[in-house]
């Protein structure tokens, strides 16, 4: 699914959170968003999913403006996993994942066997199939994150948007989640904090103070000068002798 942002912006009161962002995501690619805290990554993701009122500019989905599509059409194409998901309802894991089928169902098209299979597959994919009856309130942060990702997978989207999905996850689940996301046959837009993990994206965009200041292949985008000016760290590139992969070592400037 092709997604295009055209001079996209959003302001609350006098504060501009995102300004004049334009880029294209090509079908099948994994597109990473990085940037310091408060740089506008989450807001940009919500704008791309059409979840914020009164944006400036436009988002085009396969050439159609997002505003011309119904919420249901959008949800059949785009699934979003936000950073914070809280409920006081006593929902089970399966209940939450079943919510992902919402855009495909109606009063006249109830939940059926096909939906059950899709939900089972989604639970399997995130390794939560053994906990389907557990209550949301009893899950750990990482388990909740994985359940929300299963919910998004159950939406069967063509474009998946993830806002810092590796937060709360232990290192094993971080890596297996990134591998899962990378292997999905869908377009992915993912906001990440860990710059080493961001190296695994096809392309990276850097957000700083609401603007997109760079966009391109990770090795070009993450150069020492940019890391120093935007992320305020001194970065040293290291080479893993096992597979020749590049990794960063970060230090505070002046160390």
């Amino acid at each position: 699914m092709k997604l295009e942002a055209r001079s996209l912006g959003w302001a609350t009161g006098a504060r501009r959170i995102v300004q004049d962002v334009s880029f294209e995501v090509t079908p099948g690619e994994t597109f990473g968003l990085i940037g310091p805290n408060g740089s506008g990554k989450s807001t940009l993701l919500r704008l791309l999913a059409g979840l914020l009122a009164r944006p400036s500019g436009a988002v085009m989905l396969d050439g159609h403006p997002l505003t011309s599509l119904s919420r249901r059409d959008i949800a059949q194409n785009i699934a979003v996993v936000e950073q914070i998901a809280e409920t006081s309802e006593a929902l089970s894991v399966r209940d939450v994942v079943e919510l992902g089928r919402t855009p495909w169902l109606s009063a006249l098209r109830p939940f059926g066997p096909q939906d059950r299979i899709i939900v089972d597959e989604a639970l399997e994919a995130v390794g939560m199939a053994h906990m389907t009856q557990h209550r949301w309130a009893t899950l750990s942060g990482g388990e909740r994150q994985r359940v929300q990702i299963a919910r998004a997978l159950a939406q069967r989207p063509r474009l998946l948007m993830l806002d810092e999905p590796t937060n709360h996850l232990d290192i094993h689940h971080q890596l297996s989640l990134l591998r899962l996301v990378g292997n999905l046959p869908v377009t992915v837009i993912i906001a990440l904090h860990d710059l080493n993990q961001a190296m695994g994206c096809d392309r990276l965009a850097v957000m700083d103070e609401g603007r997109m200041v760079a966009c391109g292949p990770p090795s070009e985008v993450l150069d020492a000068a940019r890391l120093a000016s935007i992320f305020r760290v001194k970065a040293t590139r290291l080479r893993d002798p096992a597979d020749d992969a590049t990794i960063f070592r970060f230090q505070c400037p002046g160390e």
């Binding site: 919420r71 998901a85 809280e86 409920t87 209940d95 919402t102 209550r135 009893t138």
Partner: protein
């Protein structure tokens, strides 16, 4: 605290549950007709029903028949419609505002309906065109608008909404008292105060004709949007990303709540705690999914209010205790239980 959620009851078990609930409702309606100051035998009730429904021509004491058909049956049916409507209103408001404390009473909708109804009764607002129900509807809609705007201005959180609801309730209740104190004579004032506490004494067939369709329409709207209400579990933005046309669903559901609450208040006064306690009790029984919660709450609300009405007639011989007093006597401890069970989640 169990770690395993109430297991997914199968579709067939769900159907069975609803059938049992419906059977219980019919039994309770019968009880509502039989029990009273003059207990009437089931045979008399059956004969009266047969006469009215199929022109059976059985011989029944006309006074007994009158009590059954013109007095107790409409009263019981309105109690059922009213209980179902209030419970459904609670389900909807709790789902939409994601607060366990939401119900039409707490959010000021009932108070607004009461003020509207009193304005029409005493001041003749609307010049006779509006009617008590119309006045109640406008009052309820106005109160909800005031509360919603105040909550928004206060930052839009769930706690802010409850606080705004309290402010709204106080304002509209004060308005009602002011209208009564200023314009009503002693007789009117007594009657209105009694009516405001909830009173089914004056209910007749025309009231059934108003209450039953309103509750039926409200029920169908709730059932139609059951999946949408599920999607609100993680908030408005999450509902939108699941494909819910949020504004449209909110307008339909809040419209249904306003209509049901206003109708019930205009008929029987404002009755608290049903909208709050019944949906919570049903969550424990059938779980949080609205496809089950909606029919379960409607049934339980209906059964509960009929029983409360029977109690209000029987508690003090020769006197009717306002039904709002009965629901509060049962509801307040129920409410306390919700507070304790939810602890930090509210």
């Amino acid at each position: 605290m169990t770690y395993v959620a109430a297991t997914g009851v199968s579709r067939r078990a769900h159907g069975l549950w609803i059938a049992q609930g419906a059977a219980l409702l019919i039994l309770v309606i019968l009880a509502g007709v039989i029990v009273g100051e003059t207990p009437l035998p089931l045979s008399t009730v059956a004969a009266t029903f047969a006469n009215h429904l199929w022109n059976a021509g059985l011989s029944v004491d006309p006074i007994d028949a009158g009590i059954i058909w013109s007095y107790r049956l409409p009263r019981t049916l309105v109690a059922a419609a009213c209980g179902a409507g209030l419970a459904l209103s609670g389900v909807v408001l709790q789902a939409l505002v994601r607060n366990a404390l939401a119900d039409p009473y707490l959010l000021g909708v009932s108070a607004g309906a009461g003020a509207g109804a009193v304005a029409v009764t005493i001041l003749g607002v609307g010049g006779g065109l509006l009617g008590i129900s119309g006045g109640a509807f406008i009052g309820a809609a106005l109160a909800f608008a005031v509360v919603a705007m105040l909550a928004r201005a206060a930052g839009g959180g769930s706690a802010q909404l409850v606080l705004a609801g309290i402010a709204g309730s106080q304002l509209f209740n004060a308005l009602t008292s002011f209208l009564i104190a200023k314009s009503a004579n002693a007789e009117q004032a007594r009657g209105l105060m009694f009516w405001l506490l909830g009173n089914l004494s004056g209910v007749r067939w025309p009231d059934v004709v108003l209450a039953a369709p309103v509750t039926a329409i409200g029920f169908l709207i709730c059932l139609w949007f059951a999946r949408a209400m599920d999607a609100f579990s993680f908030g408005v933005s999450s509902a939108a990303s699941l494909g819910i046309a949020v504004r449209q669903v909110q307008v339909m559901l809040i419209g249904a709540v306003t209509l049901m609450t206003a109708t019930m208040v205009s008929l029987v006064g404002s009755i608290g705690f049903v909208g709050l306690v019944i949906p919570h009790a049903m969550r424990f029984v059938v779980g949080p999914r609205h496809a089950r919660l909606v029919p379960a709450s409607a049934l339980a609300g209906a059964v509960f209010l009929i029983l409360a009405d029977i109690a209000s007639r029987m508690l003090i011989p020769g006197q009717v205790v306002p039904i709002g007093v009965v629901t509060a006597l049962v509801g307040a401890p129920g409410f306390a239980m919700i507070l304790v069970r939810n602890r930090r989640r509210i």
